[in-house]
Symmetry: C2
Subunit: 155 residues, 2 copies
Amino acid sequence: LLPTLSSAQNVEPTPNGIKYPTGLTNWRVIGTSIRNDNNTQRVILGNSIAIKAARSNTEKKQWPDGTILAKLVWKNETLPTWQAATVPGDFVHAEIMVRDTKKYASTGGWGFARWKGLELSPHGKDKEDAQQPCFECHKAAESTGFVFTQPAKMP
Amino acid sequence: LLPTLSSAQNVEPTPNGIKYPTGLTNWRVIGTSIRNDNNTQRVILGNSIAIKAARSNTEKKQWPDGTILAKLVWKNETLPTWQAATVPGDFVHAEIMVRDTKKYASTGGWGFARWKGLELSPHGKDKEDAQQPCFECHKAAESTGFVFTQPAKMP
Ligand code: HEC
Ligand code: HEC
């Protein structure tokens, strides 16, 4: 009863040298979000290290080295059978943040990477372009370690 | 690196006799949704049988007996560090639909159950109340087997 393996077996790394984590779509949930400024909805996932940290009972989350946070983003679409529901339409991109405090010291201890579309084409013209704009925006979340997402409350 | 077990170890069954599936928060993602009529956001998860069906390449989804679809629902909240993002606030409830075409023949082949709040208290005054209103509403999705959710496109 294992799921079909991701079709994304041979995804190219991003120009800043980050590899796509195969099996990402099998990771557990940290939260969801809606971006009212660009008409998308998202799910935030984590690898095992991330999930352990996210589900620990500490008030301020500590993300240890090895953490990978991931986000899947879809365009909003109206559910035909229930017009008041907005559901995932086209797939926009997958993004990750990899925690390595030494390697990524210049970008807050996080390596940033994005792959676009269902074909997962790596984002960024060069190393700088692949990560710097991400980090610039994530500076708004400096008070929470450059991570916007606070793990959703779960039973 | 296994996650902390759910705190929800001794959850009461619903009045229609459905047990809470322990470990539900570790299940994989089928999709997300936003309900504009009640200011909530959701993630839809599935057990292994559900995920296999959801990720198969058939146009019209077939949900075999043993499928469990689950939904976690949160009140919308504004993300303090990015006001244009709406994120999960209070946890509202967990809901499941269990596929058993014989046992649940009178409700479209699905057993319905809801547990409210982080304490997961079972919903419904009696057997009828626990499932009938769910089924009545899900009749709007009869054309898709009483399931509203169409699996989100994933790489
Ligand atoms: C315009 C601002 C902005 C830019 C640019 C941006 N992000 Fe984010 N990012 C956000 C916000 C806001 C969130 C939280 C809400 C959400 O999930 O959309 C977020 C969330 C994330 C998350 C989930 C973890 C977290 O911090 O909440 C990842 C992973 C992520 N972004 C990666 C990236 C990558 C990779 C890039 C660049 C290729 C990037 N981001 C660029 C604003 C931005
Ligand atoms: C007022 C209408 C309405 C009622 C009542 C209702 N549902 Fe739903 N349900 C929906 C809609 C619309 C969706 C899809 C959008 C979403 O995820 O919210 C949905 C989705 C679900 C899903 C995810 C699978 C799917 O069909 O998309 C589950 C599980 C579920 N409902 C269980 C229940 C249970 C259990 C009850 C009763 C205790 C219930 N529902 C009552 C409208 C309803």
